[in-house]
């Protein structure tokens, strides 16, 4: 009897000692990865899970700056602007022990260019990827591409041998419902190894002790347990009750509750997403208003007046509970081309706005329908409701039509809305991406999200030239001049930059990533 008590005590002591060493990160957010196949879906939460197990050539650190991952350095080839040269990291192994070489990079890029790949658009300019030697890669593009590295930060590298052995050379046909070995299994070079996974329920990963950067990064988390929790209140309750250590998708109304709770902290950083209203200025007459035979939005004075009527500080304080940064341009602050001056160009001035309305011939105002999503951005519908009251002050009567995102976004891409809310994130961190989708005239594969009807051949030519301009100073000057037009034309009404909140226990140490992509190798655990 005595002996067994001692044994039990010893076992208990041993197990507490084990717990002290093994640091489990219990992590929750609202959604789950859609698949584990590195190239089958280009979607935020899916990339987040992959980032723990797979690695691209380059990643971004928490400031948005490039950081070497599987490539150690990269530069355009001297004498040939159409080629980028990447030097690869040596001594890296995949989880199954296979060595990482240039062959795997060539293979992964070819795989990512297959028709079923969801990543192919990002590397559409690459015509050839060739291995110069085991640890040097050359990427040939169809013209000079100064911002190619920006497109590679979510492009994961797979092991050629593993993929061939497991019959997953082809990217999973996601829409066709195909399940391949790579959908449910992983073999990356990343800091964590997949232990188990039930989609939408739980994913467990353990630390890769052979990771090349084991000594360079904190890597204090030995096990990750990732659980999607859809209901916002339950998510917060799980954090408050100590069942979760780290929470993304923190509802803003519970921020103060969590921040005040003992042992919990909320960290905040500007997110790579700007929220704004678009107005259809291109049509001769629009359907959503009460003015026949004319389009009030076609007059730049009306657009300016509407922008002036929006009190962005009030939206920040009341609707967003302080969790936003008023915006004057539709580029997030990390993006090349963003300037503090232009971002400060929106002010509230009801009197001037009324004057502009009168000058434009709409002293009595007009009514218009505002289309708004109600499940996409932080407090999206409430922002629109606030805007309704603010625009009413200058005589613009707004009828709000808020719907789920699946119904809202087709209105914009199909040109069926004249006044709408949209948010935009810039994965490439360069203004060209914004111009291509939101400023360029709408054509089959460019300007697809430009619902303003704005179409300027001069500007389109300038935007097109950005893609291959390798003189970065001249390119930046062009970007600035395009922004000047966008600002002067009041193409959009910027509202604010979203702020990202991560909640965690005091033990967890991590800075907020502006792309909402936590990389657990940076986490510390006290």
């Amino acid at each position: 009897m005595k002996v067994s008590t001692v044994a039990v005590t010893a076992a208990l002591l041993a197990s507490t000692a084990m717990v002290a060493q093994a640091e489990t990160l219990r992590w929750a957010r609202s959604g789950d990865a859609l698949t584990l196949d590195p190239h089958a879906q280009n979607e935020g939460p899916t990339h987040t899970i992959r980032h723990q197990m797979y690695e691209p050539l380059i990643i971004r650190d928490v400031t948005g700056a490039f950081e070497p991952a599987l490539a150690t350095d990269w530069a355009p080839k001297e004498g040939d602007p159409n080629v980028w040269v990447f030097n690869l990291r040596e001594g890296v192994t995949f989880h199954d022990g296979a060595a990482f070489t240039a062959e795997d990079v060539v293979f992964s890029f070819e795989r990512a260019q297959q028709p079923n790949s969801d990543m192919k658009e990002l590397i559409g300019s690459i015509t050839e990827v060739r291995a110069v030697d085991d640890f040097t890669i050359e990427m040939v593009t169809d013209g000079p591409n100064p911002i190619l590295p920006s497109n590679l930060t979510n492009l994961f590298i797979m092991d050629k041998g593993w993929t061939e052995a497991n019959n997953t050379v082809n990217v999973q046909d996601f829409e066709g419902g195909e399940i391949t070995f790579a959908t449910t299994n992983t073999n990356g070079t990343g800091p964590y190894v997949l232990t188990s996974r039930e989609p939408d329920v739980k994913t467990v990963m353990t630390r890769n002790e052979d990771y090349w950067g084991r000594d360079q990064f904190p890597m204090e988390v030995s096990e990750i347990v990732y659980t999607p929790i859809q209901n916002a209140a339950t998510r917060v309750a799980a954090l408050l009750s100590g069942e979760i250590d780290f929470l993304q998708d923190m509802p803003v109304q519970d921020l103060s509750r969590v921040a005040e709770a003992d042992g919990l902290a909320v960290k905040t950083a500007p997110q790579n997403r700007v929220i704004f209203f678009g107005m259809n200025q291109g049509a001769d007459d629009i359907e959503a208003d009460n003015i026949d035979g004319a389009n009030p939005l076609a007059d730049v004075r009306v657009r300016q007046a509407m922008s002036m009527a929006i009190n962005r500080d009030a939206i920040k304080q009341v609707v967003m509970r302080g969790q936003s940064e008023p915006a004057g341009m539709i580029a997030p602050p990390f993006v090349n081309g963003w300037t503090a001056d232009m971002d400060g160009e929106s002010g509230t001035d009801i009197e001037t706005a009324k004057g502009l309305m009168a000058d434009a011939g709409y002293a009595d105002g007009f009514s218009i329908r505002l289309d708004c999503p109600n499940d996409r951005y932080v407090n999206d519908e409430a922002i629109c409701q606030a805007a309704v009251g603010m625009l009413g002050q200058i005589g613009v009567t707004v009828n709000l039509d808020a719907k789920p995102k699946a119904q809202h976004f087709p209105l914009i891409t199909d040109g069926k809305t004249d006044f709408y809310m949209l948010g935009w994130g810039v994965p490439t961190y360069d203004s060209e991406y914004i111009f291509n989708f939101l400023v360029h005239g709408r054509e089959a594969d460019i300007g697809t999200w430009n619902g303003t009807g704005f179409d300027s051949d001069d500007l389109d030519a300038k935007i097109a030239s950005l893609a291959s301009n390798t003189d970065l100073d001249a390119r930046n000057a062009d970007i600035a001049s395009i922004w000047r037009v966008v600002q002067d034309e009041q193409l959009y009404i910027p509202i604010h930059h979203q702020v990202l909140n991560w909640a965690m226990t005091d033990a967890v140490g991590i800075d907020v990533d502006p792309e909402d992509q936590p990389k657990v190798k940076y986490f510390t655990m006290n």
Partner: protein
């Protein structure tokens, strides 16, 4: 009898077809699945290709007919969100929902009958009145609020029970069960109370009123007059005769326990079919929505059919009436 049965089955089939048609008619108003499936970098060409591939460019009647054709062969298509066959996903999720429904059903029946009998016998007692008043909460509070309330008290404040998930599960063949682990059992407590509370109060109130009715009957008075003990009178004579309508209601309520698990599953992140359905609505995952709605309607129609047939078998008056009418 056979004619009656055939007529009932035919009616059930018709109901199913109409439910399916209404469901398909509504899907177009839920939104455009394409928008969620392709990222913001998609081109019109991608959209058209995918729409053609999924058959979404076809008229609604054609889409519905295709669905019926495939469903008849047991093929419910592929989830737009997860990219896996819907039948696989449903089978994987079913154990969670069925276990939750079984526990809440059992809880509702056992507690409902016990409390119902208690409040009927001690009609004017303090505790019976207290239980009756408290049961109003179960009837009137919405499920999600009860769930959040329970989470707040038992998870956040007291820290006794988990606020989400199923805990550890054990896999037996194709079935995953939470009954065999401590965390699994703990995880069942709050969701099953939340889900079963409404049914429990319903059964309790029904048992009570039926029981009071029965207790007033002559044969109960005679039983008492014969000097039978209270326990025998209450349980052998009164309760037995109370059960007929109660069983009917329980049968029908079992269906709604599974169907209304949606809200409870969302609140507790319970990985069952209800949560799957909510996800599907948000993503406009038409194959999952269609399969779930058909499954639920098959279940309801099936239960109703069985209840009808049971009535026919159990209640001799029904048979006599019919015989008389023919």
């Amino acid at each position: 009898m056979l004619a009656y049965l055939i007529r009932r089955v035919a009616q059930s089939g018709l109901v199913l077809l109409i439910v399916g048609m209404v469901a398909f008619g509504m899907f177009r108003f839920v939104g455009d699945p394409i928008d969620n499936m392709l990222g913001q970098e998609r081109t019109q060409e991608d959209i058209d290709r995918l729409r053609g591939q999924l058959g979404l460019d076809q008229p609604f009647a054609v889409q519905y007919f295709r669905f019926l054709e495939n469903a008849a062969q047991g093929n419910f298509g592929v989830s737009y969100r997860q990219g896996r066959p819907v039948s696989d996903i449903l089978l994987e999720r079913a154990p969670a929902t069925l276990e939750l429904a079984a526990v809440s059903g059992f809880l509702a029946i056992a507690m409902g009958i016990a409390l119902g009998v208690f409040t009927a016998i001690r009609r004017n007692g303090f505790s019976a009145n207290f239980i009756m008043s408290a049961s109003l909460i179960g009837v009137s509070l919405p499920t999600f609020l009860i769930g959040i309330l329970l989470i707040y008290i038992f998870s956040v404040e007291l820290g006794w029970l988990p606020s989400f998930g199923r805990g550890e599960t054990v896999r037996i063949g194709n079935w995953t069960t939470g009954f065999l682990t401590e965390t699994g059992l703990k995880a069942l407590v709050l969701p099953s109370i939340t889900l079963g509370l409404y049914q429990m109060t319903l059964i309790m109130r029904l048992v009570r009123s039926e029981m009071l009715e029965v207790l007033r009957q002559d044969y109960i008075r005679f039983a008492r007059a014969r000097g039978l003990r209270d326990r025998v009178v209450n349980f052998r004579h009164a309760l037995k005769n109370t059960m007929m309508p109660v069983i009917t209601v329980i049968g029908l309520q079992l269906g709604s326990i599974i169907a209304f698990a949606i809200i409870t599953e969302t609140v507790f992140q319970w990985p069952g079919v209800g949560l799957l359905f909510i996800n599907a609505i948000q993503f406009v995952d038409i194959p999952v929505m269609a399969a779930y709605l058909m499954l639920i309607s098959v279940m309801f129609v099936g239960i109703n059919l069985i209840v009808d047939v049971l009535y026919f078998l159990i209640d001799p008056r029904l048979r006599a009436d019919r015989a008389g009418a023919h």
